[in-house]
Symmetry: D2
Subunit: 154 residues, 4 copies
């Protein structure tokens, strides 16, 4: 993947690999043009470059496109701390949209707040970036479930 | 629009027209292949036919694609009861994913619970449909803001 | 309990009993003066008569008192469909406050939307009642976890 | 107030005073035994000493008592940055309960994430403390509305 060079290599290589492979199986991320730009144990970052076909009626990123990368960033932050023979599903999330999501790209940074045997809670911050300047545009609180023994693919 | 024939014509024609025009300006809805299938005062329905490029790693609709049509259905349910010279923005929403979102299509039905001068609260139910059989797969609680005097376009 | 007479006896008597006993162990409910007024399989209703010591700065029921009975109504709606040797914990909830919570009493009605092996999702509506007239004043979406083999007491 | 001595005096004294007076009008806080322990511009802290009459069936703080101080901490963090002739109401909040709320006391720390003319978004963290040791037990994301020209009392 072209973004590999920008990935922080702080986590177990196996974990990075597992998250990257799962991300690659999410065809919706490719449809959006989203890129996985950072994978660490408990932290995952996803970028979404602006495209006019991702927008709502005012020309901003649609709340759905913002929510999509936020859900994925939080989900993989959780998955990065799960055991090897497991998969992840989103139980629920709540997103507050703080400012118009506009600019060159969005950056969603998902972090694990608390990881339990069954449930993991994450916090995701989404920034919009215009010429290198970041503005916090959404915050998310999310609950994920760890399914042991279930494959992370169809 | 091809789905016009299936639209319930229960609301003021001006309202239906206003919602349809705004929906058509949301280029993200076209990217997803989402269709506006019902507009009434306080109720809006959106369908999303299955496409493999909308999925997550298990081949189900990605939570982001589910959330995208849910946000739009709730947002337009709110907008359908707003005054003429206004626009709508999502303040926040919370989504619970109840069952794998799989099948021929998703149907998001947004309904206004309470509409105030500034804020409107909606409830959205998302069903997955397989050969005509519907399963509730997500529920959403959403807060929208009415911006008076602001155009509903860029 | 004095409210027993107003309880709908539609559920398995064992379930009603189990919910009543657990409610009686929640000393916070007694502190608030909350009463369990209905227990059915998947539906639980709690009433909170007005007391000036439950209020916020405008003299309305504090959002915390509203949330407290909503959380309990949803939690016991879930518990009412759980197996016998289990207990219930709230994973998370989201509450929208729609109108000032004022009047003679609040009534929280919790209903199970989806019950799984591990997680159960409920919907709670809270009404304020003034001279028999009800107004919807809050809506809640809640996630509960079923803990098998763990006692429902200290 | 007896807790005055432990309050950080970092904010405009008028703001501190305004928040303290409003808190004192919330009779529900006195009912719970909650204390306002810190007021700064955009940050408010509330403590809730353990009392067995604030508990649920396992003897932990009831989620409603946790939510009550979290809602108040976030609400006053917002109110601390509002203009003088205004009041605050909670629009909605979402709480994730991360760990059993037990110990000597709970401490809720509310912080403003984004403050707009009409809506303010806060983040609240609730810690349980046992013999000086703090554990994060709940996280909240909350939306407040600023009502200009409306008195902050009945």
């Amino acid at each position: 993947m072209s973004e590999a060079s920008s990935t922080a290599i702080n986590a177990d290589p196996t974990v990075i690999c597992r998250v990257r492979e799962s991300f690659a199986r999410q065809s919706f991320m490719a449809t959006l043009g989203a890129r996985l730009t950072r994978v660490e144990a408990g932290i995952v970052e996803i970028e979404l470059p602006f495209r006019s076909d991702l927008t709502q009626q005012h020309g901003f990123f649609h709340a759905g496109s913002t929510a999509s990368i936020a859900d994925t960033a939080g989900g993989y932050a959780a998955y990065s701390v799960f055991p090897a023979d497991s998969t992840v599903l989103t139980v629920e999330f709540k997103i507050n949209l703080l400012a118009p999501a506009q600019g060159d790209k969005l950056i969603a940074i998902g972090s694990v707040i608390k990881s339990g045997r069954t449930l993991t809670i994450t916090d995701v911050k989404v920034f919009s970036e215009t010429r290198g300047q970041r503005t916090l545009c959404a915050v998310v609180q999310q609950t994920l479930i760890c399914l042991i023994g279930k494959a992370d693919k169809r």
